[in-house]
Symmetry: C2
Subunit: 201 residues, 2 copies
DNA sequence: GTCTATAAGCGGATAGAC
DNA sequence: GTCTATCCGCTTATAGAC
């Protein structure tokens, strides 16, 4: 009979390392060439295997991209949700901009993706819609909570403040990619938020 | 002998008229079918000549696109500059958003272009950089003029207000393309501007 | 630049080595 | 479980005539 204790539910070390290598390669490729132009074979080459090997971990190309984006989304959401209140959320929003300022590839990916997934027939169209819907709802809730505390600036409406902040954050990325020396994403996002609330951000 | 007075130093009327006709046709075609799908023959037909005729004025399709964008920029700038003051400029900025709301293909063209011309090696990279540089300078001047009139909201700095407004205007387009029913570009732009100034927009 | 035909490359699927 | 070799159907890129 088996006297061993139940094995710990761990992932296989080699597989995990490969997975990470593939995700890093995919981020690089998608950020440079975009989702449509970036190829599985190029990702595979960067990760040191064949395209069929990549598909062992990520059955479809879309699964791969979702994995890349999902990791980042999860992290961001977890960080913002763990904060003690709406002010913390907005401060974390600024921190996300700071993080992006050190991850130009990720910014390129996001900008490229947002543009190409605009077409209704793009495979990521629905994903992106849901992502924006979630973000708008999340920020709308944040601004509503601030309104209840009386910490919202006069005339600020939660829905349009949410959409506006997201829009500005997106647009700032384009300007930053075009001229990184003269565009300060963090300060632009921070000052925009500051204009929406009465508390110090 | 020639008794006519010396001709005024003017451009060739026919060539200029043709040029304008082609640009109008190209704007229409690109805005309707997009840059990739819009064909020179369709542009030519709308302008009343053959595709070879179009190429006489614009050697390549990219030249034509560049000319269309520059032409449209000039028009927008002329409209904004002809206004009696900085408040008029901001109101015209809102009107530009309203115009875009009726030209979805044009918006798609702009969004796609802004993203792909982000790469340093894109043929329109320099054009886009200069376009943003000019727009930032123009709006910075507008906000500076408002500051001199005491019509700027507290804590608004012209440079970041200019970059922020441009960023928001860009970002709103992406959201609108993803969900035209729930995104009101005009109101989002207007309310953002309203938060920057003390006068009614 | 467009058109047409051809070539190349893509994501995807399978069988099997280890 | 991990991964390669190889194939398929399809889309896209390319070349040459116009």
């Amino acid at each position: 009979m088996n006297t061993d204790p139940a094995p710990a539910p761990r992932r296989y070390a080699k597989g995990e390392a490969r997975r990470t290598a593939i995700l890093e390669a995919a981020l690089d490729v998608f950020a440079t060439a975009g989702y449509r132009n970036g190829g599985l074979r190029e990702v595979a080459a960067k990760a040191g295997l064949t395209h069929a090997g990549v598909r062992h971990y990520f059955p479809t190309k879309l699964d791969l991209l979702h994995a890349v984006l999902g990791w980042r989304d999860e992290q961001a959401i977890r960080q913002m949700s763990s904060l003690d209140g709406p002010v913390g959320v907005l401060r974390q929003w600024v921190e996300a901009a700071r993080y992006n300022q050190n991850a130009p590839r990720m910014v390129e990916l996001q900008v490229a993706l947002a543009a190409e997934a605009t077409s209704a027939d793009h495979p990521l169209h629905d994903y992106l819609r849901e992502r924006y819907e979630f973000a708008v709802g999340f920020l709308r809730g944040t601004f509503t909570a601030l309104a209840a505390r009386g910490e919202l600036a006069d005339g600020v409406e939660p829905e349009s403040a949410a959409r506006g902040l997201i829009a500005l954050t997106d647009g700032v990325q384009t300007q930053w990619l075009l001229d990184r020396e003269h565009v300060d994403m963090v300060e632009l996002v921070r000052s925009a938020i500051q204009r929406l609330v009465t508390v110090e951000i």
